[in-house]
């Protein structure tokens, strides 16, 4: 924001120059392990596939063509739009979006609850939130599968309660995938919102109540804008990995719940894969995520410049 107090970097003085060196290791790691592989993927997506995995170094648009167009079984028919992969993307987008919304709806009250405890108890609650993360994601997802299968504890419990007559068929449905995504990424929503909520100045709520605002108005007009940075960070942290997730759709879903992550994974697995197609799919996914994030960042800076 313009006209604010001078930032630390402006007033750092003699320490300013040397601080640049501190970021060097990060740059090396990001450059070597992130930027380089992304560039390799970009190049691979324009190469020709080799049948037992791998690539032939020959320029080709076949991977992108395969994604968007259908030229018949032998490739000699006029091109038609290929909906298979677009549908998979579309399904992934709304699954990830839905997971983000569920995480927000459950995560916000949770984070708020923790932030309003006495400081000593907050640590305990935060620890409880992170405990599931001590167990590997794969194991957690497999456990989920056992819990919700037709003869699993969830169905048996509900039947015992008399809530349902016969088992709910959850496994291999979108609901199961949604449950898996929600469960996997919930803490990524809770923790950033908690970080924002913890810094919230509660006298703002009092000031709003004093100025005739009821509970819902306070939440909408004062609290939500104050914790918005946490909500945005949490949404990105849930949405982006959900979009590319493959464990939950693989283990909990079936053929009808196929998501981008699984599609990409298949292209690089064993001999059946198609590396350029997998790389091209990754690039398309990357551009969607980046478009969404840039759009978000733009709207944020506009708001702040206002």
């Amino acid at each position: 924001m313009a006209g604010g107090i001078a930032s630390a970097s402006e007033s750092a003085g003699i320490y300013k120059g040397r601080a640049g060196l501190l970021i060097l290791p990060s740059w090396l790691i990001i450059g070597f392990f992130l930027l380089l592989p992304v560039c390799m993927m970009l190049i691979y997506s324009f190469l020709t596939k080799e049948f037992r995995g791998g690539v032939i170094w020959e320029f080709s648009l076949a991977a992108y063509d395969q994604f968007f167009f259908n030229r018949g079984l032998f490739g000699d028919e006029p091109p038609q739009i290929e909906w298979t992969y677009i549908n998979i993307f579309w399904r992934s987008l709304w699954q990830a979006g839905l997971a983000t919304i569920f995480c927000l709806v459950i995560g916000f009250p949770t984070a708020w609850f923790i932030a309003t405890r006495v400081p000593r108890h907050r640590t305990i609650w935060l620890l409880l939130i992170t405990i599931p993360y001590w167990v590997n994601l794969l194991i957690r997802t497999v456990s989920m599968k056992f819990l919700i299968r037709d003869t699993g504890p969830l169905n048996e419990f509900l039947i015992w309660l008399g809530a349902i007559g016969e088992p709910l068929h959850l496994i291999n449905t979108n609901i199961a995938v949604q449950l898996g995504l929600f469960y996997s990424y919930l803490p990524f929503m809770v923790l950033p919102i908690y970080a924002s909520a913890e810094r919230y100045n509660f006298s703002l709520s009092e000031a709003a109540a004093d100025l005739y605002a009821g509970r819902w108005t306070i939440l909408r007009v004062v609290i939500l804008p104050a914790v918005k940075p946490g909500i945005i960070a949490g949404s990105i942290l849930v949405f982006v990995p959900s979009l590319g997730a493959f464990l939950a759709p693989d283990l909990l879903g079936g053929a009808k719940t196929f998501m981008i992550g699984s599609l990409i994974e298949e292209q690089f697995k064993g001999n059946a894969g198609n590396w350029p197609f997998g790389a091209a799919t990754s690039m398309i996914l990357l551009s969607i995520v980046m478009t969404v994030l840039i759009f978000y960042a733009r709207s944020q800076t506009r708001r702040e410049a206002r």
Binding site: G3, G4, D210, L211, Y212, V221, P225
Partner: protein
């Protein structure tokens, strides 16, 4: 005199208000009448219950017992947003994501005032606090003093029946604080709104208030005009908390009406006004340092030896050790005409008429 007529309308009637936190009693049967259009101050040290009382009036604290009436209507059971009362918070609590104007409009919007009317009122209060040029700024682009004025404008905008101010000047530096005092008092008089002001700063209380309630340990010790609480403190706490004072151990021989006959250290007798209900026996006399003068030892009411001087610029503080080893502090004006006796000199002390006052304990 600042004293208002007794039959003025009561704005806030606080009756036997008690607030307990577990076993701790923050307010113990507090009763106060705050009059219409009055600048009323709750003064006391931290932990005396003044802020708890203010927050109870605003509705942020639920009282354990008693009644709070605003122009006759009991508001003790209402949530904060249903009380026609606004607050200026200690740290201002301005909404950081809203401009000055949006902050000031907040209350008016909640009351569903028509847009034109609300904006006119907003312009009016911003004019009052001289911030019209800053309407589009965000709180973090303002200085502390400006933020404080936005907080005031925001609280005044909905025309509350009562304005509560919770140590609003404590975050400002000294120079600014003194300027804002005068401004605040003017705004109170211009708007005609009843102010309840909480502070621990006795100077603030004395300069701005119509009346002051001095509080300690959850109880009201004395209510009166600044002059009354300073010149006629009721008990030792009030005498000691407001201004500087000397507390002399005396023995009271007799009390007639509101006058008491006391024996001073050194054996001389003095007749002085007494705070109500003082029994004969040992007592405490309050004498303000500026109401005593140094004289020659012969025939003086009190005699002693000069123990120390402290140079204070406009004044000189002189400590005198009395015969019974008590130390008395005097303030002597720093002037060529006044000769300050050297340390160790024998001096006499004369009291101005009415300077000494017998306190209730």
């Amino acid at each position: 005199m600042l004293q208002k007529t007794q039959d003025a309308t009561v704005a806030v009637d606080i009756e036997n208000v008690t607030k307990n936190y577990g076993t701790f009693t923050a307010l113990s049967r507090v009763s106060l009448d705050i009059r219409d259009n009055e600048f009323f101050t709750l003064l006391g040290p931290s932990g005396c219950g003044k802020t708890t009382l203010l927050r109870s009036i605003a509705g942020f604290e639920e009282i354990s017992d008693g009644a709070i009436r605003l122009y006759g209507e009991d508001i003790a059971g209402l949530p904060p947003h249903q009380r026609p009362v606004n607050t200026v918070f200690q740290q201002y609590a301005l909404f950081p994501h809203m401009t000055v104007m949006q902050n000031v409009l907040f209350g008016l919007q909640r009351l569903r005032k028509p847009k034109v009317e609300a904006e006119a009122r907003c312009a009016e209060v911003l004019e009052l606090v001289q911030l019209s040029a800053f309407a589009g700024r965000y709180p973090n682009q303002l200085s502390g003093g400006q933020q404080q004025r936005v907080a005031l404008a925001r609280a005044l905008a909905p025309k509350p029946k009562l304005l509560l101010l919770d140590e609003p000047l404590s975050a400002l530096d000294l120079k600014l604080r003194q300027a804002v005092r005068v401004e605040l008092k003017q705004i109170q008089q211009e708007t005609g709104i009843t102010f309840i002001f909480v502070t621990h700063d006795q100077e603030e209380a004395l300069t701005m208030s119509d009346r002051i309630a001095v509080m300690s340990a959850g109880e009201v010790q004395q209510v009166g005009t600044p002059r009354e609480v300073y010149e006629a403190p009721r008990n030792r706490f009030v005498a000691d908390f407001i201004g500087e004072t000397n507390l002399l151990d005396v023995s009271v021989t007799s009390v007639t009406g509101d006058q008491a006959l006391c024996v001073l250290p050194g054996g001389r007798e003095i007749t002085c006004p007494a705070a109500a209900v003082v029994d004969p026996g040992p007592g405490h006399l309050s004498v303000r340092p500026e109401r005593m003068t140094l004289t020659v030892p012969t025939d003086a009411l009190l005699t002693g030896r000069v123990e120390n001087h402290v140079y204070l610029g406009t004044d000189m503080q002189v400590m005198v050790r009395l015969e019974d080893d008590e130390i008395l502090t005097l303030r002597v004006q720093n002037s060529e005409a006044v000769v300050v006796p050297t340390i160790g000199a024998e001096v006499g002390i004369a009291l101005e008429a009415g300077a000494a006052r017998l306190l209730a304990d």
